[in-house]
Symmetry: D2
Subunit: 307 residues, 4 copies
Amino acid sequence: MQYRTDLAMERAADHPDIPGVQVINTQAGDCARCEVRIESEEAARQLQKPCGRYITFEIPPLHQMAQPARAELAQAIADTLQSLLPPDGDVLIVGLGNRRITSDKLGSQVVETLLVTRHLRGHLSQPLLDRLRGVCALAPGVLGVTGMETADLVQGAAEHAKPCAIIAIDALSARECRRIGAVIQVTDTGIQPGSGVGNHRAGITRETMGVPVIAVGVPTVVYGSVIIRDALRQLLDDYPDASEREAAAYALAQRILSQPLGEMVVTPREIDQLVAELSQVIGMSLNLALQPQLSREEILMLTNEGL
Amino acid sequence: MQYRTDLAMERAADHPDIPGVQVINTQAGDCARCEVRIESEEAARQLQKPCGRYITFEIPPLHQMAQPARAELAQAIADTLQSLLPPDGDVLIVGLGNRRITSDKLGSQVVETLLVTRHLRGHLSQPLLDRLRGVCALAPGVLGVTGMETADLVQGAAEHAKPCAIIAIDALSARECRRIGAVIQVTDTGIQPGSGVGNHRAGITRETMGVPVIAVGVPTVVYGSVIIRDALRQLLDDYPDASEREAAAYALAQRILSQPLGEMVVTPREIDQLVAELSQVIGMSLNLALQPQLSREEILMLTNEGL
Amino acid sequence: MQYRTDLAMERAADHPDIPGVQVINTQAGDCARCEVRIESEEAARQLQKPCGRYITFEIPPLHQMAQPARAELAQAIADTLQSLLPPDGDVLIVGLGNRRITSDKLGSQVVETLLVTRHLRGHLSQPLLDRLRGVCALAPGVLGVTGMETADLVQGAAEHAKPCAIIAIDALSARECRRIGAVIQVTDTGIQPGSGVGNHRAGITRETMGVPVIAVGVPTVVYGSVIIRDALRQLLDDYPDASEREAAAYALAQRILSQPLGEMVVTPREIDQLVAELSQVIGMSLNLALQPQLSREEILMLTNEGL
Amino acid sequence: MQYRTDLAMERAADHPDIPGVQVINTQAGDCARCEVRIESEEAARQLQKPCGRYITFEIPPLHQMAQPARAELAQAIADTLQSLLPPDGDVLIVGLGNRRITSDKLGSQVVETLLVTRHLRGHLSQPLLDRLRGVCALAPGVLGVTGMETADLVQGAAEHAKPCAIIAIDALSARECRRIGAVIQVTDTGIQPGSGVGNHRAGITRETMGVPVIAVGVPTVVYGSVIIRDALRQLLDDYPDASEREAAAYALAQRILSQPLGEMVVTPREIDQLVAELSQVIGMSLNLALQPQLSREEILMLTNEGL
C-alpha cells in the first residue's frame, strides 16, 4: 500500500497504538501542536517514516489571522526549530521543488524571504557580526530542470559552505484535503526519497549530508488516487460483511484509478496566494530561529518587508 | 442538481437523445471536432445551456505535438472562429479570470499573445492598413480584485471601441479529469452567469452587449464535488438493486461532501505549463482568424514570437 | 525645449521666482514635504504644468526605513490624499502603465495591494458597511497592449462605477537621478497628456472625467537625453564667456543626442525591488486614506499582508 | 582607469593597433561577426582581458527579425559554440545573475529554455540516447541572495556532474548604449572576477574549474559613469589645446560623478522584453550546439516551444 502522505501525524492517526510511537498534543497560541516521536525501527517500518521527531502545527487560515497571531505562530515554529538546531555554526537552508509549478514552489519562495548573512563576514563591524548567525541559502531546482540530483547539488554546496546543519523546505502531500495549507511540519529526519510534491529521488539526511538535516514542509496537494481509495475504504469499513459490495467497490476503484485522476492533484483554487502567505510565515520563522539576537522589527527591515 | 461543467459536449453526453440537440463529429487533423447544436428552448433547459453552437476540439497533449501539428490545430480553430465572426469591423477580445490564480488565468495570458492593431490606424500606410483588421483587447480582472462587474467593464470598453463582435476567453470547469487542458470549446453563446473557474456573476452575451459574443474556453479544473458524485453514481448504476448499498453510498456522499474537498479543484500538477501552452495556441488561433491576410510567419514576427 | 520631468518641484526649482507660484516646504516625520501651488495661467504656461496643487514627499531609501517610519510615511501621504478627496462617495483607483515593463508597472502593482470594497455592498452586515468606503480599482493596460486609449477605458469604467473621484497611479520621469524612487508626488490636476513613463496620449482629468482626479506618482526613470543636456548646460553656465566652448558643447550635444542614448532611460539596477517596495507604501497610503475607520492592522489583515 | 565594459570588441576598438591582438570581421547572415583574439600577455594587460578568443555577433533588433533570420542567427552562434566545445562528454550550463533584477536575469532565463538530458540516461532507449549529449544546468543565484560564492556553487555542482566543459551565461555591461541587447559575445576565457552586471567576486575559468569554460553574454546595461566620462573625453579629444576647457570639463566630471548617476545603469525602457527574446535565441543556440543530431523542430517540441 502506497501512503502518499508526507505527514507523520496522518500516518500515526492510522495506526493509533503502535509501540514505539509517542504522540504529544499541546497548544501554541491559536495553533494545535502535535509531536509524533517514532522511537523504534519496528514503528518506523509500520509508519513508513524513519525514527525521529515530527512536530506539526495546525494553523487557522492565514488570511483570517491578524498580525499579532501570525507573529506568535512564527515565533512558536521558530522555538521548535531552535530546539532542533545546534547552538552555533553556519546553517544552510535549501528550498526544494520546482519554482515554476505553483504547488511545488514553496521551497524556492521561502528562500526569497530569508535573511542571508554568511557573505557579510568581513564586511560588517564586529558588534553587528557578533549578533548574526551565518546563514546561506540555495534553491537548486528539480531533477527535470537541472539534470542533476538535488541531493548532489546540496552536497556540493555543503562541501563549500561547511554548515553545522541543513534546513530543507519542501511542499508536501497530505491525505486529507482539509490539511492543505493548514499544517506546518518540522522534523529532524530530513528529506526522504520519494517524498514531497516533486517526489525526490534521493534523500537529504544526516546520513547523506554528514550534518543534521531539519525539514520544514506544508502540504499543498492531495493526490487524486488517495481520495478515491479513502472513499472506498470508508465504504468497506462501514459495511464489512457485504461481500458483493467489496467486489463492486474494487471494480469501481480499478475503473477510476485507471483514469488520469490518480495522478491529478487536489488543491484549493487559491493555491498561489496560499503558498505566498505560507512562505512569508515560514521565512519569518526561520529568520527568528536563526537570528535570536535580532528583533522581528530588525528582521523585517533587513529583509525589506514590513509596512 | 448542479452541473459544474462548462462543456456542452459533456452535458450532451449525459442526455444522449434529446430532441433539439444535434451532435456532429468530424476530424480536424489530429483533433476530434465535436459540434453540439442546441436548437430548442426545451433542449436548452434540459442541458442548462442556452441555444447556440458549441464546437469542441479534442487535442492531444500539447507537449507531444510537433510544430506543424500545433500550427494545423491553431488554423482549425481559426477557421471555426472566422465562421462565427462578422466579416468586417473591429473586434474586442476580452481575457476573463484572475491573473493571479493559475487555474483561472488563461484569459489574461491569451491577451498577452494577441496582435492588437486598432490603435495603429492613422499610423500605418494604407496598403498595410488594408490588410489589418482592427483588434483591441482587455483583461479587466475579476470582481474581487476590481470591485466592479466584469460585464460592466467590458460594456464600458465596448461603448468606446464600438466593436462589431466580442470574443471572450475564459478558463472552464469540466466533469472529467481527462478533459483538463485537453479540449478547447468555441461557442457563439457568449459567457453565461455562473460559468467559468471564477464563476461570473453577470453574463457577457449578445443580449447584454448588443453585438455577437463568441466565447473560447479550456477546462483547467474539475471540482472535487463532481468527482465524488460521479464515483458514487457509477457505483449505484452498476448495482441498481442493492438497496442497502444505496444507503451506504448516500451516507458516504454526505460525509465526504461535507469536507472541504467539494470546493477544492482537481488539476494536473503541471497546470502552470499547461495554461502557458494553451494560451499560445489560442492566441495564435485568434490572430489567424482576425488577420487572414497575414501569414503565420508575419504574425509570429509582429507578436515577437518565433524562433 | 522639452522638459521630460513630471515633477512640479523640479520645474519650480528651475524657475524660482515666478509670480503665481507658491512653494511651501514643511517636514512630515523623516520626509521633507514640498507643496507647489500653481495659481495663474501664466505660471502654468511657464512651468508647463496646469494650475493646481502638487505635493511632493522626499523619502529616505525605503530599505533603510524601519516599520514605524514606513507606517508614519504612509499616514502622512494618506493625510494629504484625504484632504484632496471628497468626504463621501465611491472612489475609483486606476493603475496606469504597462505591467510588463519594470519601470512602468508601479500603477498596476499598487492596484494589487488595494482593499477593494465596492462589490461587498449587499454582502456585509450594516455595521461593517458603515465603516467601509466603496473602493473599486482597475489596471487597464497601455495603448500598445489594449489598442484602446487608457482614458477611454477609465471613462468606460467610471460610467458604470459612478465614483465621486478618481485616483490615478503612474510611474513618472524626473530630471535628476537622485529623485528616482525617492519622491512621491500627489496632485489634484490628474494625468496630463504626454506625461508618465509610458507617455499617455490623452489626459485623465476633471475636465475629461467629470469628477476630481488625483494623481499619485513616483519617478522611476530619467531620460538619457536629459542627463546629457543638463551636463552640457552646466558646462555653459560655469563658463559663459568662452564662445568657442559653446560651439564645442553644442556640436557634442548634437553628436550624442543623435545616438540611442536620448531615448534610453537611466534607472537603478535594483528597480524591480524599488518598485515593489514603493507599491506597498503607496497602496497602504491609499487604503488608510480611503478607510479612515479601519486601523492599519485591520487593513493589513484584510489585504492579506503583514507578518 | 576602470573599463566597465565586458565586451572585448569595445576594448579592442579603443586600442586599435596593439601587437598580439587579432581582429577578424566576417558576416554571418544578417549579423556582423567580429572575432578578437588576444594572443600575448602584454596585449591582455593592455585590454584588461585574458588571452583567448572573443567572438561577437552584432544582431539587428530581434523584434524586427523574422523567424528564418532568427533561426539562422541561432545556428551561427551554435556553430561557434560547437567549435569551442570538446566533441564528447557531458556539459554543465550555468545561468549567472540575479533572477529578480531584470537587467541581470539573462542567465537564469536562458536556463529555463534548455533541453536538459543528463538525468534521462537509463530512462531512454539506446537509439535515442545515442543521439543525445548529456546536458545539465544550474542557475545558482548571486552572492547577496545565497550567501555563497557563485564559483563555489558551480564547482560543487561540477564535482558531482563531472562535465567535460562548462558554459556560463551572464548579462554584461557595455560602453556604448547602442550595443545593449544588440551583441552576443562568446568567449573561451570563462567568467572573470568583477565582470557582469552583478559583478562576480570570483572567476569561473578553466583554472578554477579544471575544465574548459565558455562564456556567453549580452550587454543589458551601460553604467552612467561611462556615459559621462565618454562625453567629456569626446569634448577633450575634439579641442585638445584649450587648457581652460580641460579644467572645466574635469570639474564638471567631478561634480557629476559625485552624484548617484555613476552607479545608475542606462537601459532601454523595454529591457524586460529584450531579455526575454535574447534568452530564447541564446537558449536555442545552446540546444543546437549541444544536440547536433536533433533538428530545430525536435528541439522546439522537446522544450515545449514553437507554434
